[in-house]
């Protein structure tokens, strides 16, 4: 009976999705934006020019292949998912290497594959910080978190934090922060998915968000961690291959010579023009200033070094305490495998970033050009796609089409896999920590536990989809910063104190979680990450004044300058009377990322409250954690415990 219901559900959903996707083939105009953007470059002096003709007939079948393969995995995994151990931790049967690929997959979301090359193509050197942060983050995970987590944990962060503390207060707090964090992360991913699909394929935002949402819920609901892991592994293989292809086609053009690459970037008039007018807002070129070289120097995106450091700290602590990454360490059998999985993940992620940091990212700036990348929409996310299409088409038009279609499918698979991992982590927080261990006080049969896990997977997924539909026109960048901020400032200090400090008490853990979370939310709300219309208006006004002064001096503005003037006037009018979400005219703090302030607040709160409200029993219980942290289960097994 159950099997039949499952099959029917699968068939229904696949039909629905394919219907939706195919339906939009008939309507809408594929890739209008990329087409226009790239076509317009022929007007500019650039090393490469080419017209883009998009091909839905190639992209849609690839999407269907991705959906079919992943649903196949889900079907296979569903037959193996019976207990909570299967559902949350894939029976701890994943090998180190497999888990390494899965971790790489979990971490490298569309933000990595599309976002980082986009940041490099738009902001030059500063985009590279998004490649360094993760490397540092994984070193932290490898050295401080992976093995202890495996040695002590079961399914969730809550399991670790309650090893010696009292259950109810800690579990409810961590279930709450996990839920908030997962929802925020989910929204940023799904908004990205919706915008991407609309840009790439002309599929309406709602259709792609709901479609992606339904798929992710199915993956988690039926396949649990086993399906999520394998979807993640396959996606990571897709992603790496996509990266290698881009690296090779861009590299071959430059003879794999980085010196030639950067000479090209610096000499590109498009890049020079972009740095001058787009980034530095010099309405008139500064004589003697090397705008091309400036592109590959730091400070075009984040000028304040402490802000940049704060960004690194957010990554450093945040990644290690993100629930969906954390959960991956419970899927392997022992600490040795956990260690191996991080090493494999670091080699994969590092390799990927080396490709992005060279020919992919700066290649996109050189060949696709910042202006085109910006125009293509998605905040730079189209950079690597445009690059693939452009360079592929130089070999043969059909290769460009194939490559673009393949890269789109990779992006799609990436989003699907990451959101599934996040939904599973969110469901784990609510079902395992909140329902089973608080509401049912741990007395709950397997069947009921599984039911709770599945119901909460639907709840988390649905809430994520509904909020995403409401956020279509919103700038959700701050939600991503916030999610990492909460992980870095709340979860991470709580985790580290619980693992490594004898005196940590229940009050300390809760204080760390709450203080870190509140500090992150508070700081982001008053930070420059939010939008401040009056600041935008002031910038626009400055351009208007400069150009009007030039006009007043009797100089005739060039066509481009006239366009800039018109746009600046429009921006000024649209923004001059508005305020930010919480009613501010300008940010109260200069930091875009709260990490450098909020993470110490989390740690301090944890330490102070542990000392103020100590707990003798918990302090004594630390010996066991301390020993098991290094030895794992083996030590209890040797004496039959």
């Amino acid at each position: 009976m159950k099997r039949i219901t499952f099959k029917i559900a699968l068939i229904l959903i696949s039909t629905l999705l394919m219907g939706g996707v195919l339906g939009s083939v008939v309507t809408g105009d594929m890739n209008v934006l990329i087409g226009e953007a790239v076509a317009s470059q022929s007007a500019q002096p650039a090393p490469v020019s080419g017209k883009i003709e998009a091909n839905r007939a190639l992209t849609i079948p690839m999407f269907i292949i991705v959906i079919t393969i992943t649903l196949g995995i889900v079907y296979w995994a569903a037959k193996r998912t019976h207990t909570t151990s299967d559902f949350y931790a894939a029976r701890s049967s994943i090998t180190g290497t497999q888990n390494g690929w899965a971790i790489a997959g979990d971490f490298m979301s569309a933000a990595t594959f599309l976002g980082v090359p986009g940041l490099i193509a738009l902001f030059g050197f500063d985009g590279l910080y998004w490649a360094i942060g993760p490397m540092l983050a994984f070193a932290t995970i490898l050295f401080l978190a992976a093995e202890p987590l495996r040695n002590l944990g079961k399914y969730t962060l809550g399991d670790i934090l309650t090893l010696r503390g009292s259950e109810i207060p800690v579990r409810s707090t961590v279930a709450f922060t996990t839920f908030i964090l997962c929802i925020m992360y989910l929204i940023t991913q799904l908004v990205g998915a919706g915008q991407l699909m609309r840009l790439l394929l002309g599929i309406p935002y709602e259709v792609s968000v709901i479609g992606t949402g339904i798929l992710m819920i199915i993956y988690v609901l039926f396949g649990g961690m086993i399906a999520t892991t394998w979807v993640q592994i396959i996606k990571a293989v897709f992603l790496m291959s996509g990266g290698v292809i881009l690296f090779i086609i861009a590299g071959v053009k430059l003879g794999f010579n980085p010196v030639k690459l950067f000479e090209g970037v610096v000499a590109s008039t498009a890049v020079q023009d972009w740095v001058q007018t787009g980034l530095l807002k010099h309405a008139v070129a500064d004589p003697g200033f090397d705008y091309g070289q400036r592109f590959i120097e730091p400070g075009l995106f984040i000028k304040n070094p402490w802000d940049q450091l704060s960004n690194c700290i957010g990554f450093l602590f945040g990644t290690a305490a993100t629930p969906h990454i954390l959960m991956r360490f419970f899927t392997v059998p022992d600490a040795k495998a956990a260690r191996k999985s991080v090493v494999v993940a670091m080699l994969l992620i590092g390799g990927f970033f080396l490709m992005i940091a060279s020919f992919i990212g700066f290649g996109a700036a050189l060949f696709a050009m910042p202006q085109t990348v910006l125009k293509a929409g998605g905040g730079g996310n189209m950079a690597s796609l445009i690059l693939g299409k452009l360079l592929g088409s130089e070999v043969a038009p059909w290769i460009g089409d194939m490559l673009l279609a393949y890269l789109c499918a990779v992006a799609f698979a990436t989003i699907l896999a990451v959101v599934s991992g996040v939904v599973l982590a969110g469901a784990g927080g609510l079902a395992h920590d909140f329902y089973v261990n608080i509401v049912k006080k741990g007395k709950c049969e397997q069947r009921e536990q599984m039911k709770a896990a599945r119901i909460f997977a639907i709840v988390v997924g649905t809430i994520g989809v509904i909020l995403t539909l409401m956020c279509e026109k919103q700038n959700v960048a701050h939600l991503g910063v916030l999610a990492f901020g909460i992980a870095a400032s709340g979860n991470f200090p709580a985790l580290m104190l619980a693992l490594f400090w004898k005196k940590t008490s229940t009050s300390g853990v809760i204080a760390a979680l709450l203080a870190g979370t509140i500090a992150s939310v508070g700081l982001v709300l008053v930070s420059p990450t939010m939008e401040y219309p009056k600041v935008i208006a002031a910038q626009a006004n400055k351009i208007v004044e400069t150009l009007e002064k030039k006009q007043a001096e009797g100089i005739v503005l060039s066509e481009k300058e006239a366009a800039t003037l018109a746009k600046a006037r429009k921006d000024y009018e649209a923004n001059k009377n508005k305020t930010s979400i919480i009613g501010l005219d300008k940010p109260l703090i200069p930091l875009k990322n709260p990490g450098i302030v909020a993470a110490p607040i989390g740690f301090l709160a944890g330490i102070i409250f542990s000392l103020l409200l100590p707990n003798r029993r918990e302090e004594e219980a630390y010996s066991e954690i301390h020993v098991r942290l290094h030895t794992g289960k083996a030590i209890s097994e040797t004496v039959g415990q």
Binding site: Y129, I132, L136, A139, P305, L309, M346, V627, S636, Q641
Partner: protein, 106 residues
């Protein structure tokens, strides 16, 4: 499971070979983590406070800051492999020995 005995965790934690294991691991792990973190932090701070050094062209147009990034990624990757080999060679053996010792009931 009538003969199930409760491990005296406090006593085990005081065991000489456990303390040695803990010390060895902490020295390696925490030491390298701090070193790597400080090294990485030098990029944003250096780029902000000694911009001339980080802007300096080293090979063709490639500047110091860019080389710093590449070196940082490569070092992170290498450190992971170095730790992996060290752990397999050193700390895993110590852990095994220690567990055997507990099992013997010393």
């Amino acid at each position: 499971m009538a003969d199930r005995k409760q491990l005296d965790w406090a006593k085990i934690a005081q065991d000489e070979s456990f303390i040695e294991l803990h010390k060895t691991k902490t020295r390696f792990l925490f030491g390298w983590w701090v070193a790597l973190t400080l090294f990485s932090f030098m990029l944003p701070l250096g780029a902000g406070y000694v911009p001339d050094l980080f802007r300096a062209k080293i090979i063709g147009k490639i500047n110091f800051a860019y080389l710093f990034v590449i070196v940082q990624i490569v070092i992170s990757m290498s450190m992971s492999v170095i730790y992996y080999n060290w752990a397999n060679r050193v700390s895993d053996k110590m852990t095994e020995e220690f567990i055997k010792k507990v099992k013997r009931g010393d």
